[in-house]
């Protein structure tokens, strides 16, 4: 599975999309399940009933309504004034957050697909589909000197696409990812509701600052990150967490008596020498509990959570991502209706 840039398409997002996903990217449209209130008209349904093509509902005429919105044929059928409401189609920003901490480099071999490769492929695919609809793009990832948050404000300009291609191309996994900085940058940059897609393994994130010498509790950092993402959701953003993992992390394929030395990619923890067999059962148990906890936290906070697994077929995961993004949330629909009545 080729995930790196295609040689024949320099500067193009499609060049970063693996062949496995190319068909999907070309054939599917990016849809958002929830109506959002965008800044301007675009190809997405808006919570604000407007002049879109798609019929939303009929309702009784209230004095003060725009007379242009009267559905004459319905008035004739029902013999009372009804107003036709249609979905408004608005421009929608796609915000991508790449947690490119060193752990995402795994397995770090030229022939293997790393978690970072998966994040890059999904990110490039989504960005390409958004860009096809002229949607603005925003992204945050690590740069050469710390966090690169210059593109945290959505923009539909071509330069933004080129910047993203460039960033994805050079993204290689830094020691630690500055979650706090990234979320603060988006908090400022995403003034209108947007679709925020977060790529992270969420294994041992850092949500500093912390007192010097104090060991950061990864569980608490994860909760803090998810709380912050929940705040984005509360502000109307669609927050999707694509937990990018590797098949080895899920399966722990080392079972024998061979002595292995595990080295922490983030250089945070001491090396561990042990036989795989002696570690496996306990590891699987603890890792499964961790995944379960992340999933539970996301559900509780209204964050869409799904997993993309490096080392396994990517298309099903990408299809699931598209479906989850397009899924219409019933409660949100009712809320929109309520809002319209005002």
């Amino acid at each position: 599975m080729a995930t790196r840039r295609h040689a024949n398409s320099p500067g193009d997002l499609l060049g970063l999309v693996p062949e496995e996903l190319l068909g999907l990217v070309r054939s599917r449209e990016l849809e958002l399940g929830r109506a959002i209130t965008g800044g301007r008209h675009g190809a997405h349904r808006s919570r604000r009933p407007g002049s879109g093509h798609d019929f939303l509902e009929h309702r009784a005429y209230i004095p003060g309504d725009d007379l242009r919105q009267l559905d004459w044929r319905a008035v004739a059928r029902r013999e009372r004034l009804v107003v036709r409401r249609s979905e408004s189609e608005e421009a929608f920003a796609l915000a991508l957050l790449f947690d490119d901490n060193a752990g995402m480099r795994y397995p770090g071999t030229p022939e293997g697909v790393s978690k970072l490769d998966v994040a890059r492929a999904f990110g490039a695919s989504l960005a390409h589909m958004a860009q096809r609809r002229r949607d603005p793009l925003a992204f945050v990832c690590s740069g050469d000197a710390g966090l690169d948050a210059r593109a945290a404000e959505p923009s539909a300009r071509l330069e933004r696409k080129a910047a993203l291609v460039d960033a994805l191309d050079t993204m290689q996994g830094r020691e630690r990812f500055d979650w706090r900085g990234a979320l603060e940058a988006f908090a400022v940059g995403l003034r209108r509701p947007s679709s925020l897609v977060v790529f992270s393994d969420l294994i041992e994130p850092s949500f500093g600052p912390r007192a010097s010498g104090e060991e950061e509790d990864p569980e608490r950092a994860i909760e803090a990150i998810l709380d912050a993402l929940a705040a984005f959701a509360a502000r109307g953003h669609i927050v999707t967490l694509v937990q990018t993992l590797h098949a080895d992390e899920l399966d722990f394929p080392w079972e024998g008596d061979e002595v292995l030395r595990f080295i922490d990619l983030q250089s945070q923890r001491p090396e561990i020498e042990a036989t795989g067999g002696s570690l496996r059962a306990r590891y699987l148990e603890r890792f499964a509990a961790h995944l379960e906890a992340v999933h539970r936290h996301c559900e509780r906070r209204g964050i869409v959570h799904l997993r993309a697994i490096a080392g396994r077929p990517l298309a099903p995961a990408f299809v699931e991502l598209l479906d989850r993004l397009a899924a219409r949330d019933a409660s949100e629909g009712r809320g929109a209706g309520g809002g319209a009545r005002r």
Binding site: G108, L265, T275, R286
Partner: protein
């Protein structure tokens, strides 16, 4: 530190194996960069056990054990100061190795004999090339080989022979010189050297002459040397005497316990066993260099005529154990044989010189264990000269000879008497009209308790003519003959008209049994060699005194006869030193049962009149000999059966050192000794092993 087998040290490389294995084991680990290390449990115990040098003390201990064993295999030694000097040029050598009893003395934990073997190895290795050497032991029946080139195997064979066959004999080292010189053979242009490996006791190196004839060089090499005299305790030769005053079958068993060297007084435990059963036990306090005579009384029980008695010291880590045990045969049945020489026989019993004496002896011996024979003086002379002519020991079947008013014996007879007394016979001389002072002093002056001054009439002091008799003072109950006698013999009313006065002589060790009221001796005794001599200064018949009529006369005669005849233990004449041949009556075959119960046949002598010889007396202990063809049994009381004791000569117990003759040798080369150190290493390894086991057990129990 040097090593006899240095290539063995290559084994030390093996020490690297455990460490190497550990290091290699560490390198095996495959590196896996991993993101989710925080879910890995680092405290998994099996991993820790395998990956860490968790038991460093155990590792070091095991390495120490390995190192000590390997080093011990390399046989380390240190060069000791020269203990041995050898002749530098090529020569012929005879090495005499003293294997006498005193060489069993342990000095600082090593027997002198073992040290001698060690020195022998050094000499063997150090002799100049081309030298020939022969080994002989100081035991005349011991190992002896011919001149040959030096060869370690011969030394080892000698050591093996010493372990298995050497007997603790008492032959002086000097006795082996003749054999050594004979082995060397006549002068053939090569230097001839005799090396003598021995201790500095009287029978060892000090017994050697300073020079040997025929330009043979003598090199004494002392072994078992010690800066301070080595302390040990030993038993002398035990003896027994009948104790009829206690019981007809009672005996007194005496044994001297001697301590050699030492400091402060010590207590040793002496045990008496009769027929293998412990009968008595006593504590003996011993000052340094002291001798204590210990006496047991024992009454023989049962039907058996003889009993095997063993005396041994217990609870003693003695440096010379061979003399810590002594054996003897006890015999309550043996008859006492008395010959009474009557110098003044008479047809009328009351005037016969010996009538009262013999009557008293018979009266005191209802069991008839005393056999009395009467001789005229001529018969005594004839018996002695006949025995000498036949080559037999004269009077050997007599335990006590009584010379009652006998004229002085001639010189040959006197010599025979003196020799016999020295060998253990008792002699009782009573005076009378036929005793001439001068002749007696000439013939038996050496033997008499005191020399005679001359006969005298009682009460002839100036101014006293009315009292013409002398009474006896109370009996001297302290005299050994009266042991067990607690009451006076009641002889005070004895009236003596005539007596012999004696010449005082402070140099003679005499015991007074009876004395006259005036203080003049009436019956005086003396030990002479192993025998005892008594002298009555008045007659035993009624001529000079009425002593024979007194009630106390019978017990006096009984006690005196038993004491005089009570040879220094009946065992003494059947005592042989270990390694010596025992002569048996030569006209028939014998079977001898050794202390270990094995019976060995002894063939009759080839020539009539010769004795059979039983020479396998390597074991110390009690032997029985019986004519072949007789069944052995406990109830054997045959006149012709023999019992004898084989013992270690007590002279070998005397480990005091004497000066060694100094030998000047022009062409002598001192040889460096090798003091092996591997025992120390083995001890270290054993200690470390014990520590390792303890540590391991503790770890395992802690883990459990």
């Amino acid at each position: 530190m040097n090593f006899a087998s240095p290539w063995m040290l290559l084994g030390l490389l093996g020490l690297a194996l455990p460490i190497l294995a550990h290091l290699l084991g560490r390198r095996e680990a495959r590196r896996i960069p991993f993101a989710a290390t925080r879910f890995l449990d680092a405290s998994e115990p099996r991993v820790a056990r395998r990956r860490q040098l968790r038991d460093r003390p155990l590792l070091w201990l095991r390495l120490l054990i390995l190192a000590a064993l390997v080093t011990a295999l390399a046989r380390p030694f240190v060069r000791a100061p020269a203990q041995v000097t050898v002749y530098g040029a090529t020569h012929d050598a005879v090495i005499i190795l003293d294997d006498s009893a005193s060489m069993r003395l342990r000095v600082e934990g090593t027997r002198a004999l073992d040290e001698a073997v060690e020195r022998a190895r050094e000499i063997d290795a150090a002799l100049a090339p081309g030298s020939r050497v022969a080994w002989i032991t100081s035991d005349p029946h011991g190992r002896e080989d011919a001149l040959d080139l030096p060869q370690g195997a011969r030394v080892e064979a000698l050591a093996a022979w010493l372990d298995a066959k050497a007997v603790p004999h008492a032959h002086p080292l000097a006795d082996a010189l003749d054999r050594a010189i004979a082995t060397l053979g006549p002068e053939k242009g090569r230097p001839r050297v005799v090396y003598a490996l021995s201790d500095a006791t009287a029978g060892g190196l000090p017994s050697l002459p300073a020079t040997l004839p025929g330009e043979i060089a003598l090199i004494p090499i002392e072994v078992g040397a010690s800066e301070t005299p080595v302390e040990h305790v030993g038993l002398g030769v035990p003896s027994w005497t009948p104790a009829p005053e206690l019981d007809p079958r009672a005996l007194r068993i005496k044994v001297p316990v001697q301590r050699h060297a030492g400091r402060d007084e010590i207590q040793v435990e002496l045990v008496l066993e009769i027929d293998g059963r412990e009968e008595a036990r006593t504590q003996v306090g011993l000052a340094p260099d002291a001798v204590q005579e210990v006496e047991f009384t024992h009454t023989l029980m049962g039907e058996s005529p003889a009993a095997a008695a063993t005396l041994r010291l217990e609870g003693l880590d003695d440096a010379l154990p061979i003399d810590d045990r002594r054996d003897l045969w006890l015999d309550a049945e043996s008859a006492t044989r008395i010959a009474v020489v009557n110098g003044d026989p008479s047809e009328r019993r009351e005037f016969d010189e010996v009538y009262f004496l013999v009557t008293a002896i018979r009266a005191a011996d209802p069991a008839g264990r005393i056999r009395v024979r009467g001789w005229a003086p001529e018969q005594l002379a004839a018996a002695v000269s006949e025995a000498e002519a036949a080559g037999r020991e004269p009077l050997e079947d007599i335990d006590l000879l009584v010379l009652a008013n006998v004229p002085a014996p001639d010189a040959p007879l006197a010599r025979a008497l003196q020799a016999r007394v020295e060998a253990g016979m008792g002699l009782w001389i009573s005076v009378g009209d036929r005793v001439e002072t001068q002749a007696y002093n000439t013939a038996l002056g050496e033997l008499l308790p005191l020399r005679l001054r001359g006969p005298s009439f009682a009460g002839t002091a100036p101014g006293r003519s009315e009292a013409r008799v002398e009474g006896l003072a109370p009996t001297h109950l302290s005299h050994p003959a009266f042991a067990g006698q607690s009451e006076d013999l009641d002889l005070a009313s004895t009236r003596t008209r005539r007596l012999f006065l004696l010449e005082p002589d402070a140099s003679r060790d005499t015991d007074l049994a009876l004395s006259f009221a005036s203080g003049a001796p009436a019956l005086i005794t003396r030990r002479f060699g192993r025998g005892r001599v008594a002298l009555s200064t008045t007659s035993l018949d009624r001529d000079w005194s009425d002593l024979a009529l007194r009630a106390g006369f019978v017990p006096l005669v009984d006690q005196m006869v038993r004491w005089l005849a009570g040879r220094a233990g009946a065992a003494s004449e059947e005592l042989h030193w270990v390694g010596d041949a025992v002569e048996l009556e030569g006209s028939r075959d014998w079977v001898v049962r050794a202390p270990d119960g094995v019976e060995r046949p002894v063939a009759a002598a080839r020539e009539p009149g010769d004795a059979s010889r039983f020479s396998d007396t390597r074991q110390v202990g009690l032997y029985r000999a019986r004519p072949a063809g007789r069944e052995s049994g406990e109830g054997e009381l045959e006149a012709d059966a023999r019992r004898f004791v084989v013992a270690v000569d007590p002279s070998e117990s005397d480990t005091r050192t004497q000066p060694i003759p100094h030998v000047e040798l022009d062409d002598a080369v001192p040889v460096e000794g090798q003091r092996p150190q591997w025992r120390l290493l083995l001890a270290l390894a054993a200690l470390a092993l014990a520590l390792e086991s303890w540590l391991r057990t503790r770890r395992e129990s802690a883990k459990a």
